[in-house]
């Protein structure tokens, strides 16, 4: 497959002694000798001390299996052959008792999904001390003291309290810090991080990567980063191994890979990643000029969707052993937003920002506690149930989970036809067939898929079916709730192009919810930034991305990784910490102040009001005028 000679010496490893980890001819298969499925074929790699090797590939490439095999952690039906040498010692075939002296002691591992990777019924302290007692023979008191020190080192807030807490009580970012603290507690020389940032918010992703970079430099750690995210690679890696379908596609230094990738597959991966991160090509018509943002729309053309003062409150009851009065969770607080004809608006924010709740409440799928909703000039509150149902056809929604949003018992054709059966029951079967065919073609769904069920489709095909189901009614506004976050990068790129094309073709409006700012820039002309259910900034996309006014928007932008192996590590080194507070107890005054580097005393007292930014946008910050230019 790969045209390269076996592994060019890494730039940092050159001249050094034997690599710390050396893998040669590693094969991994699942199942018996007959009918075996090969997960990996003939893998070679080296990792030297103080060096970071990134292993990159899309889902199913076998990148996680590679290191599970190396550590003897494959499931019972997995078999590994070849050679894995750690510090000169062969790991494959080592008896488990000896492997257990290496795992956790000399090689630390950090997994994706930190909630699932911590034992739920044991406290953080119990789990951390256990490792120290086992591998270093430390006394309980000593172990407790080092655990405390380690938590402080990975910058977990209130470390003493955390030790007594259960994993379920910590936030995602904090759990990942705990995992890292545990993995480095025995001072291993090699740290394997398997998708360490995947389920996390963008700002937290940057924080975790920054921490890994720091530890690598400080301890001369050999680091293996398993990821599908080229942004993480740019920030951390020295060398990169690209895998596809279990084989090595390319092995290169990070500068070469990001600068001039040799294999076609690497080039495609990089192209997809770059395309997603870039602003839209100039050919896309700008239907809304920058100075019209926030200004009243021309009379006579009602906006597609308009919400004012929209608030949503969820009742929250005390759970489990805690007995308490029911609390309310303020998911959204007084949101004003309108989407004009043909306009595309992005709602961005991290988890808990209320972005999904906003679109669901705006479509009257979630009950609101206050506020007015207007669809196409008609107040939703005044519609009868029948009118409401009829009006929904103009504002369909596409959800995040590609498999969950399709009825498992309906074929692709049945799913796409359903809205027609409901809203245009008089249509003849032939006419219906014809409309389905047109929509499927527009979404590049081959006709051969018409009779398939969702479980027989790929994620991208499911998502395109869901979009086709929404498009068949010729909507005026398409609402998308994180439609891409469950997809691989190349599929994401494909769907984004489709959406952009559909919009251009039909002139429909788009309301696009995402946590990914780059996507928002790619698809939308206006962006609303939400944080803890409050609006912080609403502005034209171009202005927002070039001159962000709100400190939070700046933090979000700084967290978008650059695919540049020189700049990205420097940017990572400047990442600030901070966690999103619990939405059950939002901070007083400005909700962002607990993380804001510019917060002053006034921010704790006064809720900032909307201020016009002079370019048609709005900002909710006391100090945005005084802040230095980004």
């Amino acid at each position: 497959m790969s045209p390269e000679t076996p592994l060019p010496p890494g730039s940092l490893a050159a001249g050094a002694a034997a690599p710390l980890l050396q893998v040669r001819g590693l094969d991994v298969r699942f199942g018996g000798a007959r009918g075996a499925q090969w997960a990996l074929r003939d893998i070679d790699l080296d990792v030297a001390r103080g060096e970071c090797l990134a292993v990159v590939g899309e889902s199913g490439a076998g990148k996680s299996q590679l290191f599970l095999a190396a550590m003897g952690l494959l499931p019972a039906n997995g078999h590994a052959t070849g050679s894995v040498r750690y510090a000169g010692r062969e790991l494959l075939g080592l008896p488990q008792s000896q492997l257990d002296r290496v795992r956790g002691a000399e090689i630390g591992m950090v997994f994706q999904d930190p909630l699932g990777s911590l034992t739920p019924h044991r406290t953080i302290g119990q789990q951390m001390t256990e490792v120290l007692v086992r591998h270093q023979g430390a006394s309980r008191t000593a172990a407790h003291a080092s655990a405390l020190e380690l938590l402080a080192r990975v910058r977990v807030s209130e470390p003493r309290r955390r030790l007594a807490q259960y994993p379920g009580e910590l936030s995602g970012g904090m759990r990942q810090r705990v995992m890292i603290a545990m993995a480095i507690s025995t001072s291993p020389q090699l740290l394997i991080a398997d998708e360490p940032t995947t389920a996390l918010d963008v700002t937290v992703q940057a924080q975790i990567l920054a921490l890994l970079l720091e530890l690598k430099r400080e301890r001369r750690l050999a680091l293996v980063l398993i990821t599908h995210d080229l942004g993480a690679v740019a920030g951390l890696a020295d060398r990169v191994l690209v895998l596809r379908h279990g084989r090595t596609v390319e092995s290169d230094t990070v500068t070469d890979l990001l600068g001039s990738p040799r294999a076609a597959y690497s080039r495609a991966l990089l192209a997809d990643a770059r395309a997603l991160a870039q602003p839209p090509p100039a050919t896309l018509p700008r239907l809304q000029s920058a100075d019209a943002v926030g200004a009243p729309l021309p009379a006579g053309v009602p906006p597609l969707l308009e919400v004012s003062g929209l608030s949503v409150r969820f009742p929250v009851r005390g759970q489990g052993w805690r007995v308490g009065a029911p609390q309310g969770l303020q998911a959204l607080q007084a949101i004003d937003l309108s989407v004009g004809a043909g306009e595309s608006v992005a709602v961005v924010g991290e988890s808990g920002s209320g972005k999904s709740t906003l679109v669901r409440a705006a479509l009257a799928l979630v009950p609101r506690s206050a506020g007015r909703i207007v669809w196409l000039g008609r107040d939703v509150g005044s519609l009868t149930a029948g009118e409401l149902q009829a009006a929904r056809r103009r504002l369909p929604i596409v959800f995040q989970d590609p498999f969950g949003s399709l009825d498992p018992r309906m074929t692709v054709a049945q799913a796409i036809t359903e809205p027609l059966r409901v809203h245009e029951p008089a249509l003849s079967p032939a006419a219906r067939q014809g409309r389905v065919g047109v929509v499927m073609e527009a979404l590049k769904l081959p006709a051969s898929l018409a009779a398939r069920y969702p479980h027989e489709l790929s994620g991208g095909q499911c998502q395109r079916t869901a979009i086709a189901r929404a498009m068949i009614l010729e909507p005026q506004l398409l609402v998308c709730d994180e439609p891409l976050s469950a997809l691989d990068v190349s599929t994401q790129h494909e769907v984004v192009e489709l959406l952009a094309g559909l919009r251009q073709h039909s002139g429909m409006g788009l309301l696009f919810v995402t946590h990914n700012l780059a996507l928002a820039r790619r698809l939308c002309t206006r962006v609303l930034v939400l944080y803890l259910g409050r609006m912080l900034e609403l502005a034209d996309a171009q202005r927002l991305f070039t001159r962000p006014a709100h400190p939070y928007t700046r933090e979000l932008l700084a967290a978008i990784p650059l695919l540049d192996a020189v700049l990205q590590p420097r940017r990572l080194a400047q990442v600030r910490g901070g966690e999103v507070p619990s939405p059950l107890a939002p901070p007083s005054g400005c909700v962002y102040r607990t993380r804001c580097p510019h917060a002053v005393e006034r921010c704790t007292r006064e809720v900032p009001s909307w201020e016009a930014d002079g370019a048609g946008g709005l900002v909710a910050c006391h100090r945005w005028r005084e802040l230095p230019a980004p």
Partner: protein, 291 residues
């Protein structure tokens, strides 16, 4: 590539389950034995020269295999044990299937309404089930069985159905509540479908599979309860035979005529074993956890 042509309700995801089920050796064997037993229970008594209550005065308490005419022996009154046991299997199967239907009808309606309405209705309906669940329910059934009717099968259905519906209601409610939260149901609502349309087009078809599977697990439960009541002398009465009262009679004679216990007990155990195995296999095949 177009492998899926089967019609509802075994379409789509269920086709995979069906394949998985057919691949299970235990399930195939159980289904075969069950089919054979059902056939025997239906046709056997017709083919035999004896009926369940005909007396053979020449052969009282005959051990199996000792005379050609009675393959599995006779009881103290000279009645053919094989015919009586098959009669019992038929009666037990019939009663338990009917009782399962009663419990399913009540349980599915209760659970589906509670699960799909959610909120306060759901809370009250399920709290009622919880309360009833916590009671020694079989006691009430025994009391019911004793107090009303010692000879009416209808009362037996009702009594047994009254035990069975609680679990059904819980399971169906869980399924319906889970469906209510699924994105495709929300998507249907966002596309403008009315609640009855959503129920009819999306919820009920998706409930059907699990309910059918569950039905197969209720039947052995009902057989067990029925024979339990009959064993206590509260269910099917002489001269009619059910597996329960045959075992009761056998237990009383086991010192002198152990086959009177062993024959109906053997049939009961094999019947339950096969039904349980098939039900478990079916449930596993439909379980999305297993892959």
């Amino acid at each position: 590539m177009h492998a899926v042509t089967e019609s509802a309700p075994f379409a789509g995801a269920s086709a995979t389950a069906w394949r998985r089920l057919r691949a299970s050796r235990a399930a195939r064997w159980s289904a075969g034995i069950l089919g054979l037993m059902a056939l025997l229970a239906l046709a056997g008594p017709l083919l035999s020269p004896w009926s369940y209550d005909s007396l053979d005065w020449q052969h009282l308490a005959l051990a199996p295999g000792s005379a050609g005419a009675h393959w599995l022996g006779t009881d103290r009154l000279g009645r053919d044990l094989l015919v009586r046991t098959l009669h019992g299997v038929r009666l037990s199967l019939w009663i338990s299937v009917m009782a399962s239907l009663v419990s399913l009808a009540v349980g599915v309606a209760w659970g589906a309404i509670a699960g799909f309405s959610g909120g306060r209705t759901d809370g009250w309906m399920m709290r009622t089930v919880d309360v009833l669940y916590a009671l020694p329910y079989l006691f009430i059934v025994i009391v019911l069985g004793t107090l009303f009717s010692r000879n009416s099968l209808a009362a037996l259905f009702v009594a047994l159905g009254a035990v069975g519906w609680l679990t059904t209601a819980r399971i169906v409610r869980g399924q319906a509540a889970a469906l209510r939260g699924r994105d495709f149901v929300l998507a249907a609502r966002a596309l403008g479908l009315t609640t009855p349309q959503i129920l009819w087009r999306h919820v009920i078809p998706n409930l059907l599979g699990p309910v059918l599977v569950y039905m197969l697990l209720v039947v052995p439960q009902m057989i067990l309860y029925e024979s339990f009541l009959s064993f206590l002398g509260l269910g099917v009465q002489e001269p009619h035979a059910s597996l329960g009262n045959l075992i009761l009679a056998g237990a009383q004679e086991m010192e002198s005529a152990p086959w009177m216990l062993l024959v109906p007990a053997g049939f009961l155990v094999v019947l339950l074993l096969c039904l349980n195995t098939l039900g478990d296999a079916l449930r596993d095949a439909f379980d999305p956890h297993e892959s």
